[in-house]
């Protein structure tokens, strides 16, 4: 176990070094690819091998099943995006800057892999803040006016939002110190143990602040304003990492705090707050998906929607809700990577981000166009893909929870999104032929292979929900305090 952990933590660091020491873009490229493969191989078996949480470094590092699951999702996206980046980033024709790109890329992956390991909520906050600082430069990497604007909005909105989470953390520490005495080591477990004796007003206030703070990072509406800009202006592999890995990582923080308020038994307020934010996100996602023109912004609003669905799953709670949300986390990571990869290919080929200028995709991309189309069907939550199973479980959990109204609204909004999203794809695939022919290049095989690697597991997970995953999710749900 320790060995796997070391690989996960050290491999991206090696990639950062390799990007810097011989400043050659090819070396950086391949070392980053190898590092991501190593991380993936180490992270895949990790959640299944942990029985009880392990602690390292004087209790500052925790390896538990929930964290390991988050790391697995991150590792999958990191690997896929690293393959894709080889083809995509070479199109930039600036080998000197590629070295910086890979150093930042590996650093970004590292911060996201390390964050779920943090056992102290304060240190977790720092790790999340670090992910912002590193990824800002990736968002602004193309250095056009639009990407600089997106990067600036991203760092300002997210830093301001996340400072609320720090305030919440401080208030919760204070609440604990009124019970445990002025100095104690705040860990997730200590917070949960002390929560029933903590003052409910402080606990609620702290939780709501934390929810809004990390909710900003997750991209829950109405704090999502940075998300469409950052996702649409960064290079495609970065968009995939932001959407498929970063949002999940921040969500883990909310989930861990939710376990704290659950342990305190202070009523429905925390869950209802999460459910309301979730529904609002699905609603905002639906509105902006229907009337969207930018292809990557479409995917970005779909991320807002899916984070809303995850929030709903965790908010509904119960074994079913948690299992559905965790399953959906992985499926969304796979699916959204696929969608951003496809969007990147199309963008390069047609030389535009505007959907009205993208027509007859299949005649340009006979094979990977089909993969993208299948991904589009999957992302709307249609069978036979994994996203369907996840959303279906969450809905079932919703009908069994006190917030049935939310499940009903979610159902309606999902139908709206299904129609709105696929309508854009209908136009892009079967619309009238454009007058000008696309002239750009695209990344070729490097950019097609990760699409296969994302779609095949997505399909398999849709046809077959492995027994071992179910036991894992049940164990995580029990670990979060869900009664069996």
């Amino acid at each position: 176990m320790t060995f796997e952990l070391c690989v996960i933590v050290i491999a991206p660091l090696v990639a950062i070094l390799a990007a810097g020491v011989p400043p050659r873009s090819r070396v950086a490229e391949y070392v980053n690819l190898l590092a991501s493969l190593a991380v993936l191989l180490a992270a895949l078996p990790l959640p299944f091998r942990i029985r009880s949480p392990l602690f390292y470094w004087g209790g500052y590092v925790i390896v538990d099943q929930l964290g390991a699951w988050g790391m697995l999702c991150t590792a999958v996206v990191y690997f896929l995006a690293s393959i894709y980046a080889v083809g995509y980033m070479r199109l930039m024709d600036r080998p000197k800057r590629l070295v910086n790109f890979y150093a930042l890329f590996a650093a970004f992956a590292w911060t996201m892999l390390v964050a779920p390991l943090m056992n102290n909520p304060g240190v977790f906050w720092i790790a999340i803040e670090l992910t912002t600082l590193v990824s800002t430069f990736l968002v602004g990497f193309e250095r056009e006016a639009e990407s600089m604007e997106a990067a600036w909005k991203y760092i300002i909105v997210v830093s301001a939002g996340i400072s609320l989470a720090l305030l919440g953390t401080v208030l919760l520490y204070w609440g604990g110190s009124l019970v445990l005495g002025p100095t104690y080591d705040m860990t997730w477990q200590v917070l949960r143990d002390v929560a029933p004796r903590m003052n409910p007003v402080l606990l609620k206030l702290g939780f709501l602040l934390v929810l809004v703070g990390y909710g900003t990072k997750v991209g829950l509406a109405p704090m999502h304003t940075w998300l469409p800009d950052a996702h649409s202006e960064g290079p495609a592999p970065v968009s995939a990492m932001l959407s498929g890995a970063l949002l999940n990582t921040a969500m883990l923080g909310i989930v861990r705090y939710l376990a704290v308020t659950d342990a305190a038994g202070i009523g429905l307020l925390p869950r209802t707050a999460l459910v309301v934010l979730g529904i609002l996100s699905v609603f905002v996602g639906a509105l902006f998906i229907v009337r969207q023109e930018g292809v990557k912004r479409l995917m970005a609003y779909s991320s807002v929607e899916h984070m809303g669905i995850l929030a709903l799953g965790f908010g509904f709670g119960g074994v079913l809700g948690v299992a559905g949300a965790l399953y959906h986390m992985l499926n969304h990571s796979l699916n959204k990577s696929l969608m951003f990869f496809g969007a990147g290919n199309v963008m390069r080929r047609y030389g535009t981000k505007e959907m009205p200028d993208i027509r007859r995709v299949l005649s340009e991309f006979p094979v990977s166009g089909l993969l993208w189309l299948a991904g589009a069907v999957a992302i709307t939550g249609a069978p036979p893909f994994g996203t369907f199973l996840g959303e279906f479980s969450i809905l079932r959990a919703g009908f069994g929870s006190p917030n049935v109204w939310a499940a009903l609204i979610m159902l309606v909004l999902l139908i709206v999104i299904f129609i709105g999203f696929l309508n854009h794809f209908r136009a892009m695939y079967f619309g009238r032929k454009p007058e000008t022919l696309p002239a750009g290049r695209w990344g070729g095989g490097w950019c097609a292979v990760p699409m296969w690697l994302a779609l095949v597991p997505l399909l398999v997970l849709g046809l077959w929900w492995p027994e071992r995953l179910l036991t894992l999710f049940t164990a995580i749900a029990h670990g979060l305090g869900v009664p069996s």
């Binding site: 720092i126 600082l133 800002t136 600036w152 830093s159 301001a160 400072s163 401080v170």
Partner: protein, 226 residues
């Protein structure tokens, strides 16, 4: 906790520093000169460093002396220096197009302070700690938070936004020194370090904004909508 059994002199010193820091955040709100913001922030950081040292002295937390020194070095000297360099490079001296005039924003800030007082006294009553210093610390923490958000929303020069963010964190730092002086040292140090990295990032970003967008006012950032 420390704030409950505090001798009167210490309590009044703490209150004085807290109120002075809050007033300094109003100085930022009431001015349109970017240099004023920076000086106000610098003085505020010095006050917070002094507060750390005092809390360390009265509460017998020797590690807080270290925090005080680092606060002084990082927040009191290094951060203002970095911001100063950004200012010099930009050659922007003041907010040009004000969304809210200084007088109006002062009124809005006062409303924020009243709201913070209301919340703080409610929370204080709910947890049974009605000592002035507890309520005051909570109130100042929330006021600085709200004023910081106000700065972020009504000021749009890049430097004002950076300082608005730093103000948010100063508020948390000030409140946590009084309310939870026992918070582990490691966290405070890492957060300080984190701030440094943040400002360095901001500096680089501001330079890119200047060269690629041609302006550092967020009013000119309006290409991405919908």
């Amino acid at each position: 906790m420390l704030a409950v059994h505090l001798d009167p002199l210490a309590a009044s010193l703490f209150s004085l520093i807290a109120i002075a820091s809050m007033l300094l955040s109003f100085v930022m709100l009431g001015s349109r000169w970017l240099k004023d913001y920076m000086y106000a922030f610098g003085v505020q950081s010095w006050l917070i460093a002094l507060l750390s040292a005092l809390v360390g002295y009265y509460g017998h937390y020797p590690e807080l002396y270290l925090v005080a020194i680092f606060t002084l070095l990082f927040r009191g000297l290094l951060l203002p220096y970095l911001v100063m360099r950004i200012l010099q490079r930009l050659r922007v001296e003041r907010e040009l197009h004000l969304i809210l005039r200084p007088s109006a924003s002062l009124v809005a800030g006062a409303a924020c302070a009243l709201f913070a007082l209301l919340v703080a006294s409610r929370v204080g009553a709910a947890i049974g700690l009605t000592q002035n210093i507890v309520v005051l610390a909570l109130m100042v923490m929330l006021t600085m938070k709200l004023v910081g958000f106000l700065m972020l929303s009504v000021r749009h020069e890049a430097v004002s936004q950076i300082l608005g963010l730093l103000l948010l964190e100063n508020g948390i730092f000030l409140g946590s020194q009084i309310l939870i002086p026992g918070m582990p040292l490691l966290i405070e140090l890492v957060i300080l370090f984190d701030l440094l990295v943040a400002v360095a990032c901001f500096g680089v970003l501001v330079r890119y904004l200047m060269t690629h967008v041609g302006s550092t006012s967020s009013l000119d950032l309006k290409r991405l909508v919908g």
